[in-house]
Symmetry: C2
Subunit: 252 residues, 2 copies
């Protein structure tokens, strides 16, 4: 059983994961970070040791790597052979190949350093290179989340891709809407109840059934008018492409 962990990183994922595990009575032994400020701050929050130099990592049941995807590969090569997981949606498990016990613990949520995350409801995708270690990671994850799933790297990558489409792209749609409103001195708050409702609907309903709007109705007149009043050429392209796809999805 994993009783003590160390965290590499001090960003959004490192902060929220280490706080969640500490609250679940898992001992966070060391915070290892290249960012002295945020690393020391996080270690202080957890009342634990801050380490700048990887060489000073002491033995622990599990190292949780919470650094940018691009840095995982070179970091792993310089780490001692301690059981370890990364937390990336799109990084293959094979990045660890020369270690003995390795895996993935990927929370499907966009975490923020300054906003306490309620992990109970956050699905965690787990993968490991052997069954014994897999059980340990599942057991550990279950201490913070009620939704732990065993998924391979290909499945996890497809979840990450879908998360980008469902979350990052919809956030960008909110941003385009806000910019268009502000261009006309209108308050973005007007759309907030609608945005929230649109997301809440798909908790209980299929998004294919909750689709509304001119493209869904096949209302080409409104689409044409919207393309006239939308000023930004790039956003016009986005409006056209998405409307064309919605029209196609719902054509009778």
């Amino acid at each position: 059983m994993i009783k003590k962990i160390s965290i590499i990183g001090s960003g959004n994922v490192a902060t929220q994961l280490s706080l969640a595990f500490a609250n679940a009575n898992i001992r966070v032994k060391q915070i290892i970070s290249r960012n002295k400020n945020s690393g020391q701050l996080l270690a202080k929050k957890l009342n634990t040791q801050f380490i700048y130099n990887i060489k000073n990592i002491s033995s622990t049941d599990l190292l949780i790597i919470c650094v940018n995807d691009d840095n995982i590969d070179s970091l792993v090569k310089s780490l001692p052979n301690i059981p370890m997981v990364h937390t990336s949606g799109s990084t293959d498990i094979n990045i660890f190949k020369k270690k003995d016990h390795f895996g993935v613990l990927y929370p499907i949520q966009s975490l923020n350093k300054d906003v306490v995350a309620d992990f109970k409801k956050i699905p965690i995708c787990v993968e490991a290179n052997n069954q014994d270690f897999e059980s340990k990671i599942i057991d550990l994850s279950s201490k913070i989340s009620k939704k732990v799933f065993l998924l391979n790297s290909k499945e996890r990558k497809n979840i990450h891709l879908s998360a980008v489409i469902a979350s990052n792209f919809s956030n960008f749609c909110y941003l385009i809407a806000k910019k268009n409103l502000e261009y006309h001195n209108l308050d973005f708050s007007l759309l907030k109840p609608l945005i929230l409702k649109t997301a809440q609907k798909i908790i209980t309903k299929d998004p294919r059934l909750t689709q509304t709007g001119p493209a869904k109705r096949g209302d080409l007149k409104i689409i044409k008018e919207h393309l006239t009043i939308l000023k930004d050429e790039n956003y016009k392209k986005i409006y056209k492409l998405l409307s064309r796809n919605i029209l196609k999805e719902y054509e009778k």
Copy 2:
């Protein structure tokens, strides 16, 4: 003061608006609808009269037109000169030109016949052709919503356009994500907490600050990999176009 209203239509907007006004002690005198089934059903719910033929419309303080945008024009021409509003985001107030008292009462929400709407939090955009009638429409709207705004047709059209982008397009992103997951036998439920959180964030934060993901980080490696694993050619185009725009928005 408007004490009694009649509703033309028996769809999503007609149903929820008439129920909300009835609950606010506004008398719904008649439900007028070309759809006998849903019209009679709604009239029964409200314990009021159902009318199929426009010629049988009796005098009332206000007619609220809740029909498809495309049908408003021809409908208005055949209506008696009773004070009236439509409820469309994208239809100009001038569609009424030959009447004496006319206006708009546009709730910024995607309403559903079968889901009771809490209008208190739904912004309502009001417009009218004279100040006296405007006051009456504001007063009436305030009986169901705490967020009543006076906006002209151009402003309202821009709100509707922005609502399409923020709500309809994000719903379509949910649908693409769901289809991609299902293609790989993965459960869409995995993304639901993330989708909800993404929408909740912009209630208190600027969507420019809540943007996350590979395009925001400028992570071209992941974008390239996502384009390889995404199979549908149309969705690939959407992924490319949105990522390109996010990259541009956040380029340093």
